[in-house]
Each structure stands twice: as structure tokens, then as C-alpha cells.
């Protein structure tokens, strides 16, 4: 296999000076040279997302910008065990991959991680909680918030199905579609601002595929359309209560 380059951007907020190289060079090299050259399976790791006190430049979620670039892959793990398996897959994938790691989980997550080598498949979403009333789709640290909302909704008799997308580009439409066909409702949640966030892509695709099956409009519980604030972070974030409200509103539509 040879050696692979793995680049680290210390905070995803600082990835923008590299944006041109990633989008215009790494993503397009194989395509424009007719497969003569490629970027050698480059992997770029960057911690992303809110951390409670990060402010404007230590909390951003830029995944949506990269999901708009055919030629690269975007992968986001939700836990340590997932991170190891997914990262090894990303490194061994011959395409350029941007791997966003939820920095909130760096100090918070505790999990048994196997010591042996193992890979988790890319572009396969995982249903991490079975349910029948509504499908929730998310990634990264937001999943634990959604899990809490699901537990609360359970008390009100709403059975939630929770899907971890894992790979955002190319994303597993089949798994999400199958789940929505089962439940008839879908809610997407991410920390990035709602306008133009990746939830919009998921929403449009699901409506295209499942329009007649849907019982309610697609709900998006996301960050607000402001720069990531400093003291206002608790208001900005898609919190458990916001998700719970949206679950109830969707189910009772």
C-alpha cells in the first residue's frame, strides 16, 4: 500500500486557508487527469463542533461546505470505538477524506476500544436505536443529545428511531429512506447553522424519495443562523428540549 499522508488541522475553524487546495486540487485531481494522478488517499483530520466555551473560532461545524464537493468524502464518528474503525477506513480509502472529530467528546467520552486493527465501512449509516414513530438523523456529538431527547419522548409514548449517518458524503440514502418508509416522519439535527446545512440535503432527498409516505414536514433542529456565539452558546445550540419540542410537533402534526 505504501505510505499515506494524514494531515491535521488543529481546529476545523482554521481549515479555510486550505479550502482551495482541498476543493480544487485534492478533490479533482483524479478526475481531471483521467486517472493518471490522484492525491494518494489523503486524509485530513480536524476537531469540529461546540465545546461549551469555544466561541467563534473554536466551535464551528464546516461539514456542509465540504459535502458540496464531489471527489472528497466527509466522515464523522460519534464515539471512540467508531472513531478508530472509521479513521482506519478513511486512511485506507484511496479517495481524499475529511474526517471531522467532535472535540466535545475528547474529554467526555469513555468507551472500550478494541486494541486490534478493525475497520468500519464508509457510506453506511447505522440505526443505533430502533423505533416506529419518527426517524431522527444526526452525526457526531449531536447524537448523544438526540438520544436524550429520544429517551424523554419514550416517556410520552413516542418511539424514536435514531440513525447515525457516519459518512456525510457520499451518504447512505437507502438506510434513511427505509427507516422513513417505516415511520413516516423524519427529524434532522446538527450544530451547524440551519440555512444551507447538510440537513437541507437530507431533507430534499427524502422528500424526493418518500413524498407520499411522509406524514409531516421534515423537521430540522439545528444551530441558528448567526456566527457561533460566545456567551450565547446555550441559546444557539440545538438542545435536547428543542429536539423534543420538534419531535412532539412532528408526531402531532
Amino acid at each position: 500500500m505504501g505510505n499515506r499522508a494524514i494531515a491535521e488541522i488543529q481546529f476545523a475553524d482554521y481549515i479555510y486557508p486550505a479550502f482551495d487546495q482541498i476543493v480544487n486540487e485534492a478533490a479533482k485531481f483524479r478526475y481531471r487527469s483521467g486517472n493518471q494522478f490522484n492525491c494518494g488517499g489523503l486524509t485530513i483530520r480536524a476537531p469540529y463542533g461546540a465545546v461549551g466555551h469555544g466561541g467563534h473560532y473554536h466551535s464551528q461545524s464546516p461539514e456542509a461546505f465540504f459535502c458540496h464537493v464531489p471527489g472528497i468524502k466527509v466522515v464523522i464518528p460519534r464515539s471512540p470505538r467508531q472513531a478508530k474503525g472509521l479513521l482506519l477506513s478513511c486512511i485506507r480509502d484511496p479517495n481524499p477524506v475529511v474526517f471531522f472529530e467532535p472535540k466535545w467528546l475528547y474529554r467526555l467520552a469513555v468507551e472500550e476500544v478494541p486494541e486490534h486493527d478493525y475497520m468500519l465501512p464508509l457510506s453506511e449509516a447505522e440505526v443505533i436505536r430502533q423505533g416506529s414513530d419518527i426517524t431522527l438523523v444526526g452525526w457526531g456529538a449531536q447524537l448523544s443529545v438526540m438520544e436524550q431527547a429520544c429517551n424523554e419522548a419514550e416517556k410520552d409514548g413516542i418511539s424514536c428511531e435514531l440513525i447515525d449517518l457516519k459518512t456525510l458524503l457520499p451518504w447512505d440514502k437507502e438506510t434513511v429512506e427505509a427507516s422513513v418508509r417505516k415511520t413516516g416522519r423524519v427529524l434532522i439535527s446538527h450544530e451547524a447553522p440551519v440555512t444551507g446545512g447538510f440537513g437541507a440535503e437530507i431533507s430534499a432527498s427524502i422528500v424526493e424519495r418518500c413524498f407520499l409516505r411522509l406524514e409531516a414536514p421534515v423537521a430540522r433542529v439545528c444551530g441558528l443562523d448567526t456566527p457561533f456565539p460566545l456567551v450565547f452558546e446555550p441559546f444557539y445550540m440545538p438542545t435536547k428540549n428543542k429536539i423534543l419540542d420538534a419531535i412532539k410537533a412532528t408526531v402531532n402534526y
Binding site: 473560532y57 456566527p227 450565547f232 410537533a249
Partner: protein, 394 residues
């Protein structure tokens, strides 16, 4: 007593003897005496593609006391911010400037409020030297309404429009092209003023810096690029980061000056020289050889990539506040006790400002949505009925 001091510090010139004799007999009020005093900078300047300014700097007792007071205030403020951060009253990131005060103070002494200053995230002291108050500093650090950016910026985003202080930037090196843009505006409007764009030794390797310098040199913009070289870019020493750590030479076609950044008079002299140069000939680079006692930020202990001996060595030999204290004492302008009293006063001032800032309220929740765009922004927020909600949160 004074003679032994003279003998021990080889850089003093013989001129010192004269003011001493007069000072002992006519002890005027310490803060208003403007009799000229000449001091020598600690080391001569080194230059690249230009002349060097003289090592002898004109000053007076009033300026000495202003320097002492300002730097001691900044020192005390930064140490207080350290304690506040550890007490979790300041959240987020906090990059402290103690050790580097001479750059802020010396620069301000050489320029007017019409000249612009733009810097990176180690900006608390530069803000104060541009006229910011302690309350504005502590309130902004704690995210309160009375802060200079109304609590919405935090430690890295201090601004003061009325004194042309353009902040306060988190992204490394991004402020330098902005600074060159400010210089463009000044030239366009025929302001006869200059812009000081400050950056660190880490940012000195940023491509955008050289792009901005190129255009500034082509268009003869009055831009002064100031590299505050504290020798460590976060945890990376300059010899590991830069092939050529002679940052004052990195401008190549642009002239440069290397300055002892721990000597406020050297800084003042260099900035005066640079302002004159930039107004006539275009961009010039100043490299301030300085040092920070704290780590990169409050998350960095600052001792994993440098030895404690190095830090204490600099503190003992090159501390900017101590240098001014020694100058004041050797010129017999005040006693040790008087200087200690000034420091006590400063301590109280800082404590009062902190107490006031602690009482100050957090910004209103509706401020989350203000100033995203010039006019207000309609916002969607998920409520139980999922209708569009006004941009005012409970």
C-alpha cells in the same frame, strides 16, 4: 550610590551624571517634569535595507512615569485575568501579554490616535494603550454588557473604533492583509497617518502576509508590519518553524529593523523612525525581540517546550517594567517606596474594575441575533407550534 549603579550597567552613557545632580536638589512633582533626559537603548538597532535610528532616545520624567505606570497596570491586569480564568469567570480562550508590555507602550508613545493599530489575539494590553479602560477589558473578558465589544467578542476580539484600534483577531495572520488595507485607506484619504499591523513569529510564515506586503510595496502604502517575536509560535520554537528566523529581513525588498522589544524606548524610537519612513517610502517591517512569561494561552502551561530557567532568566535580565524602574531610581526621580505605592494604587484600580465588571450583567438574549447583518434578521426557532418566532428569546 548612583555611581555604583553606573559602574554595574555598561550601557549607560556618561550623560546620566548631569541630571542626577539637579534632580537630587530640585525634586519636582514626579509626573509633570518635562526636562529632557537622554537614555540609551539596551542594544543598537540592526537594519535591513535602511539606516538605523540612533541609540539615544529623548525622554523626560513625565514619560518615564507614564511608561512605568502603564506597564505596571498592564502587568497587573494580565495577572488578574489569569486568576479570573482559573476561577472560571473568564471562559473560552485567554492569551496573556505579560512580558511584552514594552511593545504596546513604546508604540503608543511614538504615534497619535489617527494612526491605526491592528493586532492578533494577544490584544488586551494593546487595547489599553489605545485608551481602553480596565472595566471594558474585564467586562469583555467575562462576556458582560460593559465590555468593549458588548460582551459578544471575548478575549480575542477587543476593538476601539474611536482610537483606531482595529482589534482583536483569532485567525493567525488574517489581520495583516486587513492592516495593509487600512494603510491603503489612509493613503487614499491623504490622512498622513500610518497603520501598524502586528503579528507573531508563528504568523510570519503565513502566505497572506507576503501577498499583502507585495501589494503594499507596489503601491507605497504607509503600512508598518510589526513582528512581535516572542520566539514561540504556540509551542513551536522559531528555529523549528522558520528557515530564516530573521523576521526583519523576511520582507526582502521591504526594509526592516530589529528592535529589543523589552525596551520601551527602543520600541518608541523604532516606531517613530518607521512612521516617518512609511509615510515617505512605503512598507517597513519591525521585528520586536520580546518574550511572553505565560504560555500561549491559559490552556498552555508554557513549560513543556521551554525551560523554567529560560523564563526566569528573561524575567531577571530583560523585564520591561524593571528596566523602567531602574531608570527612574537611577535618575533619582522617585524612591522605591513611591514606586511601590504606585503599584499598590494600580492593584486597587484593577481590583475595583474587576469588582465592577463582576456586577455587570450579561448581554440580553436578543443580542444573539443583533448585528449579524446591518439590519435585523428574521429568525426561525423551534417552538412547540413550530411557527416563525420573533428574534427575542425568553
Amino acid at each position: 550610590m548612583a555611581l555604583s549603579r553606573l559602574a554595574s550597567s555598561s550601557s549607560r552613557s556618561a550623560d546620566l551624571l548631569k541630571p542626577l545632580c539637579s534632580a537630587i536638589s530640585l525634586r519636582r512633582p514626579i509626573s509633570t517634569d518635562t526636562t529632557p533626559i537622554t537614555v540609551e537603548t539596551s542594544v543598537p538597532f540592526t537594519s535591513h535595507q535602511c539606516d538605523t535610528p540612533s541609540r539615544s532616545v529623548q525622554t523626560n520624567a513625565k514619560e518615564l512615569f507614564t511608561f512605568f505606570r502603564d506597564m505596571a497596570l498592564m502587568r497587573r491586569m494580565e495577572i488578574a485575568a489569569d486568576s479570573l480564568y482559573k476561577a472560571k469567570l473568564i471562559r473560552g480562550f485567554c492569551h496573556l501579554y505579560d512580558g511584552q508590555e514594552a511593545v504596546a507602550v513604546g508604540m503608543e508613545a511614538a504615534i497619535t490616535k489617527k494612526d491605526c493599530i491592528i493586532t492578533a489575539y494577544r490584544d488586551h494590553c494593546t487595547f489599553v494603550s489605545r485608551g481602553g479602560t480596565l472595566l471594558e477589558v474585564f467586562a469583555e473578558l467575562m462576556g458582560r454588557q460593559a465590555g468593549c465589544s458588548r460582551g459578544k467578542g471575548g478575549s480575542m476580539h477587543f476593538y476601539k473604533k474611536d482610537s483606531n484600534f482595529y482589534g482583536g483577531h483569532g485567525i493567525v495572520g488574517a489581520q495583516v492583509p486587513l492592516g495593509c488595507g487600512l494603510a491603503f485607506a489612509q493613503k487614499y484619504s491623504k490622512d498622513e497617518a500610518v497603520t501598524f499591523a502586528l503579528y507573531g513569529d508563528g504568523a510570519a510564515n503565513q502566505g497572506q502576509l507576503f501577498e499583502a506586503l507585495n501589494i503594499s510595496a507596489l503601491w507605497d502604502l504607509p503600512a508598518i508590519l510589526v513582528c512581535e517575536n516572542n520566539h514561540y509560535g504556540m509551542g513551536t520554537a522559531e528555529w523549528r518553524a522558520a528557515k530564516s528566523p530573521a523576521y526583519y529581513k523576511r520582507g526582502d525588498y521591504a526594509p526592516g529593523l530589529k528592535v529589543d522589544g523589552m525596551d520601551a524606548f527602543a520600541v518608541k524610537q523604532a516606531c517613530t523612525f518607521a512612521k516617518e519612513h512609511a509615510l515617505k517610502n512605503g512598507p517597513i517591517i519591525l521585528e520586536m525581540d520580546t518574550y511572553r512569561y505565560h504560555g500561549h494561552s491559559m490552556s498552555d502551561p508554557g513549560s513543556t517546550y521551554r525551560t523554567r530557567d529560560e523564563i526566569t532568566g528573561v524575567r531577571q535580565e530583560r523585564d520591561p517594567v524593571e528596566r523602567i524602574r531602574k531608570l527612574i531610581l537611577s535618575h533619582d526621580l522617585a524612591t522605591e517606596k513611591e514606586l511601590k505605592d504606585i503599584e499598590k494604587e494600580i492593584r486597587k484600580e484593577v481590583d475595583d474594575a474587576i469588582a465592577q465588571a463582576k456586577e455587570n450583567p450579561l448581554p440580553e438574549s436578543s443580542e444573539l441575533f443583533t448585528n449579524v447583518y446591518a439590519k435585523g434578521l428574521g429568525v426561525e426557532s423551534f417552538g412547540a407550534d413550530r411557527k416563525e418566532v420573533r428574534a427575542i428569546l425568553p
